[in-house]
Symmetry: D2
Subunit: 344 residues, 4 copies
C-alpha cells in the first residue's frame, strides 16, 4: 500500500517537478498540496501556472490546495516533501515535525544544523540515523531530513568516488542553469547573450555542504570532512543542467584513469529512483554537456568527463539535472530511503 | 602620414574586425587585403560575407582581394595584420617577414617560439626588443610579433597587476563566447540551451602563454615566469566577451581590497587604442557580465569584479571583448607599439 | 538654452533609455526624475538597477528621485517624458497636464483618445495641432502627446511610404524582443529555446494605432485611415529589435521595386534625433535581422528588406529597435517636434 | 516478422532521428545504413557524430556504413528511408526504385512530381495509390513516396481539418527551429540574440506542397487544391519545433469555436506511430510553444491554439516537432502506411 504524501510549496518550479515525479510513483500517493495563503482553497489547476514539459495530471489538477500549515493537512498523510522558500521553510517545517510528520526537504534552511541529516543516499545513507539524535534532542515524533543544494549534489558524488585517494583541496567553478533560480528567478534580459558570475550565497553552500555530506557519523555525532573546497558560481543561458569544472588535489597519486575507474565503479542503490549507473563517465573530452546529458538515468544520474592531469592534481567536469537529481528527485530519493529504513 | 597596412586573412571574423578598427584609424591606411586563393581577384564585397555590426566601408568594399602571398602584396605596404588560420600562418608569415614586412599577428602559430615576442603592450612592452634577437637569428628585414590567445589576454593583465604579491598558483575557468571560434566555429545546434566544457588546445594556451607574457627579458633571452596556471575552458551561448573565474595564491598576503587597488592603479599606455582605464574594477559582486561590460573602453578595457577571500588565497572574475581586445584590437595595439618604437 | 525636462517613471527599462538619450542631448536638460513612492527620496543610483549598456552618468546618478506627483516636480521643468505603467499613466499624466506641463508619453493609456495626438514625426507631424483641440476641450495649459506602441512604430512607416498605392489589406506577424516587456516582463525560463505566440492586447494595438497614425487631420478632427490590418504577435529570444513580416494588398499595382523605391525615398526630418535615412532598404533577402540591423541610424532608423511578389499583393520584412525608435527615442523625437513647433 | 529496412543518409541530423525511431520499432529492423563515400566502410559509430539526446544503440553503432548505391545495399532489404541532401536524392533515389526498393523519402527532390505521392497519412492516405500510376509510367518494381517539408507538415493538418468550410486564402508566417537546417545549417553567430527572415525556397514549399497535399486523387491523376497560400519564413533561436501563425479566409462562416472543434475531432490513424490525438488544441491563448509542446504525442502530434476572429477571417497558431513529425517520424509513418497497404 502506498504511503500518503504531501507537497509543501506545490505550485513552484520544484513543487511541479515533485508532482511530476510523485504522481506515477508506485510507493507514494499524493494526498495533500500546500501553497501560500493566497492559493489556499483553489484547485491546483487554478493555483499553479503549470510549466513542466508533461501535461498536468488530471487528478492532481482537481485537488484543492491548502495553506502550508499543519492544521490544514490531513493527519493520515505521513510524509511531506518540501520545496518552500527557505524563510518559509525555517518557520513551518519544524511545526510539521512537531505534529509528527516526516519531512523530506529541498529547502536550504537547517541544512547545516548539527542534528539534521543532509543526505545523498548513494553517498551517505548512514547519516540517516542522525534522525534518532534529532528526535531525542527535539522531542519530535516526526523528522526532518534535507537534501543538499543542486550545485552541491552535482559534484559531491564525484568527490565521494575519489575519497579513497585522500582528497585535500578542491576548486570548483559552476555553470548553472536558470531553472535553479525558479520560474521568475532570472529575467530574460539578464541572461540572453550573457552570463552572471554571481549567485547569492551559492559558493558557501558548495564549500560547506560538501564537507558535511562527506563527513563521518559515529552514531552520536557527525564530523565534517577535512577536504577544503573553493567554489566560484556562474549563471548561464541554459534551461536545465548544472555543469561544473572540478580540480582535485589528493594525498595519494590520482591519475585520470584511476578517477574514471573509481567513478564508474561507485555503486548506485536499489531505491526506486536510483539510476542503474550512478556516475556515467564519458571518454569524449567534450562531454558531459547540459542539453545532451542532463536526462541520463531519467535525470537522476551524475555525468562526468574530461578527466585529465592538471597543473595541480587532476581536473574533470561533471553535470546533473538540477531540478530532478538536484532538487525534486533528490527529495523523492530521500523519501524512498526513509521508507526503506522504516522511518515511515 | 599614415603607415600603409594590409590585412592577411581579411574575410574571416577577426579580419572583419581588423577592417572595422583600421578603416577609421588615423595612423594606418588599409592598402592590401588578402584571403584564400578562391577569393583572389574578387572585390572585398564579393569575397567577404560581412557580418560585423557596422556597415562595410565603401572604399574597402571595392578593393580587390589578393592571394595571401608576398608576391601579390604591394611593396609599399609596411605592416601586415594577420588573422590567418594557424596552419596557414605557420606557412606564410615567415615568407612575408623574409620579404621585409613587419607582421603583427593574431594567429596561434609561433606564439611560443623563443625569438618571437608575445606582447600585450600594457603588460610587457619591453619584450618588443626580442625582435632584435629575432632579426639576428633569422636574418629577416621584416619582423614577427604575436598577441596572445583571446582567453589568455582576458586574465593576464589582472595577474600582471598582482605580480608584486608574488603569485604562485592560479586556477582559471573560462566561459567563452562563440565568436572566439569564428563564424562557422560553433553550430547553433551545439550551443543553444547548452555549454561545451572543452575547447581544443585552449587550456594549454592559457597555461603557457601566461608564463611567457609575465616573463623577464634581459635583452638577450626571455625567462618565463614561475607562476603555475591550471585552466579549464568552456564555450557558452554568448556572442562576444570571455568571462573568467580566477583563483590566485600568492607568497605575500593579498586581500580583496589589495587586489582591487592594484588592478585599478595598473597603468594604461598612451597608444591610440589603449583605453583610458586599462582594468575597470567593479564593486558590484555580479559584474562584470559579457553583454553589459564587453564594450568598456571601446572593447579594449579589461573588466574585473567579484574579488573576495577564497578558501585558498583570493578569487575574482575578469572579462574582455574577445574579438576586439582579445584579437583584432590586440593586433592593432601591437601595431601601434611597433610604430611608436620605430619598427616601422 | 536647453529646455528643462523630467522623466516620469525614470527607473524602468524605458526610463533608463530615456536618460541615456537625454543626458547628452543639447536641447534638453534633465531636471527631474520620478518613480514610485518607494523610490522617492533616494538618489537615482540607489533607486534604479541600471542595466543599459553604457555607464550611468554621474550627475544623473546623484539626482534625488521624487514621487510621480505634480507637487513634487519643480515648476521650471517644461517638458516631461513619460514611460509609466499605463494604469499609473492614466491616473497621473492628466494631472501633470492640468498643472501646465507638456507630456511626451510612451505609455499606452489614452493613445486612442480622440483629442490626443499619436505621432511618429516623419509620418504624421501634422497631427500635432490636435493639441489645440485638446487644450480647448480639456482646458489644459499643458498638453499630452503620445507615441505608438513599439510594434506599431516598426511597420507603420513602411505603410506610410506605400500609402500612395492605395493600401487596402495588411497582414503582419511580429517577432518581438524581450526588452519590449520591461526588465522583468519575460522570465528566462519562458523564452530560452522557445517562442510565445501571444502578447496581451498587442495585436489590437497594431490594428488600431496604425489606422490612427495614417489618418487625416482636418484641423478640427481626425479621421482614421480605412486600411484594414490583421496582426499576430510573437515573443522570441532576442534582446532588442522587433522584426515583422508584412503582406500588403493595394488598390494600385505595387511591385517589389516600386515598394523599395518608395521606402528609400520616404523623407526623414531635420529633427536632431531623426536618422539621415529614415527607412533603410536592404537588397539582401535575409535582412534586416535584429542583432545586425537594430542600431542603424543610432537605433532610430526603420530597416526593411525581403520585398517580393506574394500570392496576394506584396510581402516584405521590417525592423526597428524597440526601446529606442520604438519607445524612448520615439518620445524624445516627439519632444523635439514639440520644441520645433513652439509648444515649449 | 519485421520488415528489413535501410537508412539512406544515416549520419545526418534526420538520419540519426530515423535510427532513434526505427531501432525500437517492432515492425522494422534496421539492416542497412548508407552515407557518403568518405564514410563507407566505417562503423556507424566512427562515421556519425551522434548528437541525438539518447545514447547511440550499441548494435547500430557497430554496423558498417556503405556507400549510397544500390549495389552496396543487401537485396533482402525491402524498405529504404531516405534523408539525403536533395541533389543526392534526385540522383540516387530513382536508381534504388529501379532496383526494386521501396523508398520513403524526406528529401525535397521530386516532391512535386506528378506521379510521386506526397503524403501525410492522416491527411491524404488515399494518394498512396498514385504509386500504381508511378509504377506503370516508370516501369519500376520499387516505389517512391515523399513526405512534405517540415514547415508544410506543421500547418497542413490544421487546413485539412478546416477544409469543409471552403478554404480560400491562407497567410502563414513561420518561426522555425535551427534543427530544420541540419547540424551545421545555422551558425551560432547567425542566430543567438537574432532572427533571420529568410530560408531559401522554403516559402515556395509551403505554398505549393500544401495544395498538392489537399488535392484530390481520382485513381488516375491528382488535382491540386484551389486554396491560395502566402508564406513568410523565419529562423529563430530554438532547437526543435516549428511554430506558425496562420490566417484563413473561408467561403463559409468559420468561428474560432468551429475551428477548435474541427481540429479536435479530426481523426488520427491506427498506424503505430500515429498519436492518439492528432491535433491537440489548447484553450490557453499563449500556447502552443516550441519547448513546452513539441513532444506532445511523442513528437508526432500537431498542436494548435490562439484561435480568434481576425480582421479577415480567422487566425490561430500551430506547432509540430520538425525533426520528428516534420521529418524522420513523417517518413516512418509513411513506411507504416506502405506496410499496411500491402506495398511491402
Amino acid at each position: 500500500m502506498a504511503v500518503r504524501v504531501g507537497v509543501l510549496g506545490a505550485t513552484g518550479a520544484v513543487g511541479q517537478r515533485l508532482i511530476q515525479l510523485l504522481e506515477p510513483h508506485p510507493e507514494f500517493e499524493i494526498a495533500a498540496l500546500t501553497a501560500s495563503e493566497s492559493s489556499a482553497g483553489k484547485t491546483y489547476r487554478e493555483a499553479a501556472k503549470w510549466r513542466v514539459d508533461s501535461p498536468i495530471p488530471d487528478d492532481i489538477a482537481d485537488m484543492t490546495v491548502t495553506a502550508t500549515d499543519p492544521d490544514d493537512v490531513d493527519d493520515d498523510v505521513d510524509l511531506l516533501f518540501s520545496s518552500l522558500p527557505s524563510s518559509v521553510g525555517a518557520a513551518v517545517e519544524p511545526a510539521f515535525c512537531e505534529e509528527g510528520y516526516v519531512v523530506s526537504s529541498n529547502s536550504s534552511n537547517s541544512r547545516m544544523a548539527e542534528d539534521v541529516p543532509l543526505v545523498i543516499p548513494e553517498v551517505n545513507a548512514d547519516h540517516l540515523d542522525l534522525l534518532e539524535v534529532q528526535r531525542d534532542e527535539r522531542g519530535w515524533d516526526g523528522a526532518l531530513i534535507k537534501n543538499p543544494n543542486c550545485s552541491t549534489i552535482t559534484f559531491v558524488p564525484t568527490l565521494a568516488a575519489l575519497a579513497e585517494f585522500g582528497l585535500e583541496r578542491v576548486h570548483v567553478a559552476t555553470l548553472q542553469a536558470v531553472s535553479g533560480a525558479g520560474y521568475d528567478g532570472v529575467s530574460s534580459m539578464e541572461i540572453i547573450d550573457n552570463a552572471v558570475p554571481y549567485i547569492g550565497s551559492e559558493e558557501d553552500k558548495l564549500e560547506t555542504e560538501s564537507r558535511k555530506l562527506l563527513g563521518e557519523f559515529d552514531g552520536a555525532s557527525l564530523t565534517h570532512d577535512s577536504v577544503e573546497v573553493a567554489a566560484s558560481c556562474n549563471r548561464i543561458p541554459t534551461i536545465d543542467g548544472h555543469l561544473e569544472n572540478v580540480w582535485v588535489e589528493a594525498a595519494d597519486e590520482l591519475t585520470a584513469d584511476d578517477a574514471k575507474a573509481a567513478m564508474r565503479e561507485y555503486p548506485s542503490l536499489d531505491l526506486r529512483s536510483s539510476p542503474d549507473q550512478f556516475i556515467y563517465v564519458f571518454d569524449e573530452p567534450d562531454r558531459p554537456q547540459p542539453r545532451m546529458d542532463r536526462t541520463l538515468g531519467d535525470g537522476m544520474a551524475i555525468a562526468a568527463g574530461g578527466h585529465r592531469a592538471s597543473t595541480f592534481g587532476l581536473q574533470y567536469n561533471c553535470l546533473a539535472h538540477n531540478t530532478i537529481r538536484g532538487a525534486a528527485g533528490a527529495s523523492v530519493l530521500n523519501g524512498e530511503l526513509l521508507l526503506e529504513n522504516g522511518y515511515l
